[in-house]
Amino acid sequence: MSPSSTTVGDARPSFQNGGRAQSFAKRLRAGDEIAYTLTFLCAFAVILVTGLLVFELYGHSALTRQKFGWSFLVTSTWDPVQGQFGALPFIYGTAATSTLAMIISIPLGVGAAIFLAELAPPGISSGLTFLIELLAAVPSVIIGLLGVFVMIPILRTIEPGLRAVLGWTHLFDGPFYGVSIFAAGVVLSIMILPFIISISREVILAVPNDQREGALALGATRWESTWDVVVPFARKGIAGSIFLALARSLGETMAVTMVVGNDPKIGHSLFAPGYSIAAVIANEFTEATGDLYQSALIELGLVLFGVTIVINAAARLLVLTTTKKGMS
């Protein structure tokens, strides 16, 4: 967990040595050795399960790894009938939807976290935080349900406006059917917003009050103290929260599958339907006939696993270094 947990451990030598002073037979009878071994095995099970997970993903994707090698990641033909598998359209779709989600939710999330940590009275802040954390508990399939029947119709009504304002970027070219990279990005942003807000709020709250008081005493306005002093102080933790949210959005499956359009194409328009790694696994796994097809899907799973593990590992380290408590 954190530095603080090690100190708790260190503060208990008397408790631990109390057991060691007795003979082995006595400890065995008293159940200490059994309890230790049993709980140790359960803790070890986590490492075992993670190892097994890597082993299974790696082993079951051997076929495509051998046949396509690294070109699996950079070719864009996905043709199960011909036995041609290239993951690029899915990698593109995952990256595009997640990028869009981050662009929407980082400013919103950090802004809301600043409000909740710095400005709102404690009562209102904890009430709103409670509400926002409930948003994180809403199952992904329900967000998808609302995405299909509520959000897409809303997006259709704002579509002409978007074209008029941002049409020059060519990001909004082509017809808009509703299901699209754009819709998936918006849905993802709703799903990751609570993570950015609640973790960023926590790290901002952990900034020592001296920092704020110092800035205010030098004549800074409330906003200047927040933006120029408090936020930079908490920047590593905020970055950590953003990475955690990114890992989550890359692996998010159901909501994306329901609104992304499920079409393995690479285009420049956000209004075009796309596909994501998680979505193609969810859609095609049960109908994947043939070992090669299944191996391709499992290799996609391996890619997703690798990317999210790396991002998560970085994020946890960042959050750990700023909040003593860390994440649990």
């Binding site: 008397s14 631990q16 803790a43 079951h60 948003l135 349900l145 306005t221 409330r222 998010e252 329901m258």
Partner: protein, 282 residues
Amino acid sequence: MTWNKARRKIVNAVMLSLTGVCTLVAAGTLVFILGYLFVNGAKSLNWDFFTKLPVPVGESGGGMANAIVGSAKVLLLATVIGVPIGFMGGVYLAEFGGTIFSAVVRYVTDLLNGVPSIVMGIFAYTIIVAQQKHFSTMAGGVALGVMMIPIAIRSSEEFLRAVPLSLREGAMALGASKSKAIWTVVVPAAKAGLITGIMLNLARVAGETAPLIFTSFGNSFWSPGWDKATAALPVMIYTYAIGPYDSWHQQAWAAGFVLLTLVLAVNIIARMILAKRGHVAR
């Protein structure tokens, strides 16, 4: 100079209000989701939903009784697998830990917690479905059970740690062995927290859809025993929502309403119990 001061004041007011707007947008989204789902879901919900099987396409009525029971069975299995391992692992970290090994376990636990649920589905598929050559309630339970382990570990560790050291010392001063102190003093003292942690954990996996699609799969009928494919509420929502029929959409709303009500009720109750601690494992 005064212009500069005025500018700073304006920036201050504008930016501070903007952060408020951000908060409103985030909180408003939740209120909107809840409102919409409750209005639509409640309209589509009737008693048949809880008691009848799904009807074939074209007929009206029917329910999701099999999916409700299926979800309950998968969750029961997940609890049986995930909670004991997670709880015991948590006991190790809180009571015997303090070594490099426990730091590694904590870190790996967090990483495992971040593994996308769809990947967990593949994992359960390769170790169970691919071996048995058929979908089963069992495979779904294993997928969700493995997902429960990391959160169970971290929340049990946290709640056990919150028990004051003096209680352990008191028990041992009375001659209890360390394990006896743990089982008879520390664990009972942390009981409320431990149970709340399990409830939150269950609420999280109850809505998981991706790991079930190719483990427990789906079933239009009852699925007796543990060895057959079974329907589950979240998978039904997915299937019915993307299906082309209006009657399916109505059923999906009803199922979404039931699922969300359960998940949020557990979350609200658990968070109220834990409110004083101010930190919830996720």
